[in-house]
Symmetry: C2
Subunit: 145 residues, 2 copies
Amino acid sequence: MKISTRGRYGLRFMLDLAEHAGEGYVPLREAAERQEISPKYLERILPVLVRAGFVEGVQGKGGGYRLVRDPASYTVGDVLRLTEGDLAPVACLALDAEPCRRASFCKTLPMWQRLETVLDDFFDGLTLEDLLEGEAAFKRHPPSS
Amino acid sequence: MKISTRGRYGLRFMLDLAEHAGEGYVPLREAAERQEISPKYLERILPVLVRAGFVEGVQGKGGGYRLVRDPASYTVGDVLRLTEGDLAPVACLALDAEPCRRASFCKTLPMWQRLETVLDDFFDGLTLEDLLEGEAAFKRHPPSS
DNA sequence: CACTAACCTACCGTTTCGGTAGGGATTAGG
DNA sequence: CCTAATCCCTACCGAAACGGTAGGTTAGTG
């Protein structure tokens, strides 16, 4: 029950781009240094973000990456679903899961389904811009709501 | 980001005991058959539940396992923390985590902390008895609350 | 005494995780 | 035109976790 480095690094990379938006293209090496991530490893996480049209990569000297849209238009859920993969909390709810015979009477399935929507709502309710604001974003969504 | 079989099987075992409470001791083999879990594998998940005093195991003929307390007194969070381990969604929030240098300025840490409380609230707000009721338990805690 | 069933430990094949290595292909600047 | 910078792509790799198996020992029942 852990978010792996792929999801966390991918998200931090996107945040790094958001923090340096409007400064031209950000070389992977610089982002990796700031985020203290192995450049070669980070490099392997990015293709999925490029292919999804989330970031634009420009080759050659002076190149690098930049966000395509406004930071507020990327939800954390969007980024995690790409980099981490499926956000389903159990295997039987994964997109590629084969149907489970026990589904019709499983006492735990409703809970996992409910948890999945809780997670979706949590991650889709946060944008890169929200995270840049820091803790302030969570003050607006207090635990009691 | 998946709950492993240890947590899921442990929970289903506890639910199986809850469903057969008051019928004496439930042999592991019977519970494993009903839950379609490898008996030998399930056997390896149980010691932590026994040592925590969640279930009582009795050896010899006529023996087996039974819940020690009322099903309503076990939260899903209790069971999962024992069988699955830490419920922290990222490594840096785990109990045994070494302190992260980036914590003071990490843009994602507040989100993970918030998510951890969301998960704790979710799992600690459900008991074995709630799950036995099926979907009804979730009608009482609608998505909008 | 025999049988049942919990208890305990070691092993094992597969997958995932986190990372490294080594090349291309492309572009800006001298 | 050459070179340095930069993205892009694929293959490999050690360690750990996952999910399960095997084979015993201990304890209680009939």
